[in-house]
């Protein structure tokens, strides 16, 4: 009984079949190596080869438009779960020549129309507390305890709803040395805070006194310390770590 999966063949046939198969195999390996070389030599787009950036932007569209939901909340913890010693990972934008007394939050409503808001005015707004697992892009996480005004409450209070209909919100430190851009959907998330307290006390200098961003749906790189200016834009605002090769969205 013969089977359609077997054939009696000559040694020459076997050799020919083998040579042909391995020739194709070898060509595919060469093609793959050239493809890899090509990919790594494409012009860079903000620190990484252009094609990779294109896919990362595609990932952003997918997750921002179809997966993200404001109803997905980071798990809330109790104050006792929060670590007493909060890790400090970066000091870009936290220069020593900062004048705490002169600080006011600047909100650019439109070019040439800037709102100046003092810390006391911000503290007078309804206070929201967030205790969550803070996640660094490096891979570590910590349960930390923050309070401040919910970003969406702040926008409503200062009649910034037409501005927040734009796609992105940009934030800069007073010295403009650190800057982030964030999609407005994530800014409007109910756990996103303009934060002025850590563990129930005013923010320490190295945590961005007097006011920082806390945004649990993003990696730590987006939680800008010491907010100087807030502005709104339909195009992506400059972003410190994006320029250094990271994903713009960096959403969790």
């Amino acid at each position: 009984m013969t089977n359609k999966n077997e054939n009696i063949v000559s040694s020459k046939d076997i050799r020919n079949k083998t040579v042909r198969a391995f020739a194709i195999f070898f060509l595919l390996i060469v093609a793959a190596l050239f493809g890899w070389r090509w990919l790594n030599h494409q012009p860079e787009d903000n620190g990484i080869p252009g094609p990779l950036r294109t896919v990362l932007n595609g990932n952003e569209n997918l997750f921002s438009n179809y997966i993200y939901s404001p109803h997905n909340i980071s798990k809330a913890y109790s104050p006792a779960d929060a670590v007493p010693r909060v890790r400090v990972n970066g000091d870009a934008g936290l220069g020593n020549d900062f004048d705490t007394a002169a600080w006011k939050l600047q909100v650019v409503r439109k070019p040439g129309d800037t709102l100046f808001i003092s810390l006391d005015e911000i503290k007078a707004l309804p206070k929201t507390e967030v205790i969550f697992d803070f996640k660094c892009i490096e891979g570590w996480s910590q349960i930390t305890h923050w309070s401040g005004v919910k970003f969406s409450d702040f926008l409503n209070k200062y009649n910034l709803t037409s501005q927040s209909a734009m796609n992105y919100v940009g934030l800069n430190t007073p010295d403009k040395k650190y800057y982030v851009g964030i999609d407005t959907r994530s800014i409007l998330h109910p756990q996103t805070l303009l934060c002025y307290e850590m563990n129930g006390k005013p923010l320490p200098m190295n945590q961005g006194y007097p006011l920082r961003l806390i945004i649990p749906v993003k990696y730590g790189i987006k939680h800008l310390k010491r907010v100087g200016t807030i502005f709104f834009s339909n195009t992506k605002p400059k972003d410190y770590w994006y320029e250094r090769g990271y994903d713009y969205y960096s959403g969790l």
Partner: protein, 241 residues
């Protein structure tokens, strides 16, 4: 004259050889990411038997300070890994190949005999089809591991949007440990796989490229004869016997 016997369908050869470089890129870019918080080790208390990874290892592979690059490659090639894996599993089901690769009732017991045979402790193998019992368990294991890597990866990648998955895996930090452990298991599988393929020899390796194995035409070993039959036929035969 010799006889050639079809062993691996073209589709399976494609899935295999696409997966190999893609998984290699995933593991390499994963190393670049892991380095930024390289806290895992084997040991107890203050005693460390093995640090993941030793500095010499990181230095030799040029791993340090490439987190952004690692993430960008990881979150591009994850799609190829997932899509190739998904089509592969779908193919297994629709082609009937799953019957040749998934373990059956006898596989656990027989795999022990295969291991004893491979270690030269026992002579002779139990009759097998395309894969022996140990291969069935190992290869099906890689499918499960691939699925595990995907799920634990999703839990780390978007822990807030997929927080139910993240919670089922024991939380964010456990998901990262599980993802890492699966990668180590893949690396161990790779080592054993390469050793076994090398020991088994050219005819077997060729079958993963060319698709066929060569057997003598006159004396057909019963093992090979079994292997060439259609899965359905084998099933019927087993029922009748």
């Amino acid at each position: 004259m010799k006889k050639i016997v079809k062993k691996h369908p073209l589709a399976i050869r494609w899935f295999h050889w696409i997966n190999f470089p893609v998984l290699a890129i995933m593991i390499w870019s994963g190393l670049l990411i892991y380095w930024a918080n390289d806290i895992y080790r084997l040991g107890w208390g203050t005693t460390t038997v093995l640090k993941f990874f030793p500095d010499s290892f990181n230095k030799a592979l040029n791993i340090p300070f490439r987190l952004a690059e690692g993430m960008s490659f990881h979150f591009v090639f994850m799609w190829l890994f997932a899509i190739n894996g998904f089509i592969y599993v779908t193919y297994l089901f629709f082609s009937g190949e799953w019957k040749l690769i998934f373990p059956n009732k006898k596989s656990l017991k027989e795999s022990w005999l295969v291991i004893l045979h491979d270690l030269h402790i026992r002579k002779g193998l139990p009759p097998q089809k395309k894969y022996n019992a140990a291969q069935r368990i190992a290869y099906t294991g890689t499918i499960v591991m691939g699925f595990g890597s995907l799920i634990t990866g999703i839990a780390i990648y978007k822990p807030v949007q997929f927080k139910i998955i993240c919670a089922l895996l024991g939380g964010y930090e456990w998901a990262r440990i599980e993802h890492f452990t699966l990668t180590i298991l893949f690396a161990l599988f790779f080592v054993v796989h390469i050793i076994q393929v090398t020991l088994t020899g050219w005819n077997n390796f060729r079958s993963m490229v060319a698709g066929f194995e060569v057997v003598p035409a006159t004396t057909i070993p019963p093992v090979a004869d079994e292997a060439i039959e259609e899965p359905v036929t084998i099933m019927n035969k087993q029922k009748n016997s």
